[in-house]
């Protein structure tokens, strides 16, 4: 694929992921609403070593999700770009194989990174706004989010890898 159509398709994919996240996933009962579609897509891009696609996706999804973020402007963008950096480093230096374990470990690293960076912004917002930071709930959400995202990515990968879902030609 040449460069321009590839970038355009990434922009459309990032906007669609953002729309699906705020319009559908956020309406699921907890803890399923903690599944982060943009982070999931970024994990697959990182594992596939699509570095520039990873950063383009993080950039566009970050800008798109700013319109539905409670944190100050820039928090979502910086969180997703930080997660992309972390994923790029992890897949280059730590989880270098293409196994399901590498995928799940990358997911855990990505989700933990995103939750911690975004959580730091929320913490600062609460402190500056004079509200008590909800540390207990955030810790609970952190572990729930890790579990839900790792489980979801595992299921998605099992479906992708299953031969039963492929069309067999005679």
């Amino acid at each position: 694929m040449s460069r321009i159509p590839k970038i355009l398709s990434l922009i459309v994919a990032a906007l669609a992921a953002a729309a699906f996240q705020i319009g559908a996933i956020a309406y699921l009962p907890r803890p399923f609403s903690l599944f982060a579609i943009p982070v999931a897509v970024m994990v697959f891009l990182a594992i596939a070593r699509q570095t520039s696609a990873l950063f383009w996706f993080a950039f566009v999804a970050g800008i798109a999700l700013e319109s539905a973020s409670r944190a100050p402007f820039g928090a979502m963008l910086i969180s997703l770009l930080g997660t992309a950096t972390l994923l790029e480093f992890a897949t280059r230096m730590i989880v270098t194989t293409h196994t399901i374990y590498a995928l799940l470990a990358s997911t855990a690293i990505g989700v933990a990174g995103f939750t911690l960076i975004y959580g730091a912004f929320s913490f600062v917002r609460d402190i500056l706004g004079g509200n008590a930071p909800d540390a207990l709930f955030s810790a609970q959400d952190f572990f729930l989010s890790l579990f839900v995202n790792v489980a979801a990515i595992g299921i998605i990968q099992m479906i992708r890898a299953s031969r039963r879902f492929l069309i067999r030609h005679a």
Binding site: A18, G23, A24, L34, A64, S67
Partner: protein, 254 residues
């Protein structure tokens, strides 16, 4: 990624945040907000239809496939029409300039007690304005505004505190507070005041920017704990906030 590219990325993010702060990005933010809001709305309508349909009887299997798409669309249109009629009726009699807004989703961080609406700064919406559903039911207040969208903090959020009064002869005053993002309670009611299940609770007008008389809910259970200085009560809101298709933002008195 080379260190040079990382450097460029940091500079780009810094420029974007600076340009946002100066207001240079408003047209772009408006366009992106509109695009994401429009794209999210069909997902939200389907999510709401499924949430509402969980409590209804199943349609026979043989006709379900044919009817599914039309049913979702009809449910969405009926909900919007009903809500629109109620909001228009309320806005006409309340003497308040009201901006009608569609709900396009919830914040991306999984927060329970917030909604995203498709009207923002360019439509005259500002932080702390009250948000109502049909017939003047108070839903929450505006927590954050972008050029094309805004985030509504629902009454169920723990940080939400609304000055309220009961709708009876005694006019008992108190504060309606969110409980863990799930429920509402009337607190800080002085001992000796009368509270009883079934009493209606409305905004008292003593809070900043929230007019008097917006319905909040009905008292469900009253807690009179001898060791505590105040009475409190749980409140049942008249609407399920998650299922609302439209809301009105009370912008200014006419």
């Amino acid at each position: 990624m080379t260190p040079r590219k990382y450097g460029l990325l940091i500079v780009l993010v810094a420029v974007i945040v600076f340009a946002h702060g100066r207001g240079y990005l408003k047209p772009i933010e408006w366009g992106i907000g509109k695009a994401v809001g429009s794209a999210a709305r069909p997902f939200t309508a389907i999510a709401r239809a499924f949430s509402g349909a969980r409590h209804q009887e199943a349609v026979p299997e043989e006709i379900r496939a044919t009817l599914e798409a039309q049913t979702v669309e009809i449910i969405r249109l009926k909900e919007e029409l009903g809500e629109l009629e109620l909001l228009h009726g309320y806005a006409a009699q309340a003497n308040y300039a009201t901006v009608l807004a569609r709900i396009v989703g919830k914040p991306a961080d999984g927060s329970r007690s917030f909604l995203v609406i498709d009207r923002g700064e360019t439509h005259g919406i500002r932080e702390r304005l009250p948000v109502i559903s049909g017939e003047g039911v108070l839903v929450g207040t505006i927590a954050k505004v972008t050029p094309a969208t805004a985030i509504v903090r629902l009454l169920t959020h723990p940080e939400s505190k609304i000055a309220a009064t009961t709708l009876d002869a005694a006019r008992t005053l108190g504060v309606v507070q969110g409980e863990q993002g799930l429920a509402l309670s009337l607190t800080l009611v002085p001992r000796g005041e009368t509270l009883a299940p079934g009493m209606r609770v409305v905004s008292s007008g003593l809070g900043q920017g929230i007019p008097r008389g917006l319905l909040i809910g009905t008292l469900r259970e009253v807690y009179d704990i001898p060791s505590e200085a105040f009475l409190s009560a749980s409140i049942t809101p008249p609407r399920t906030y998650d299922l609302l298709p439209l809301v009105g933002v009370l912008v200014s008195p006419l």
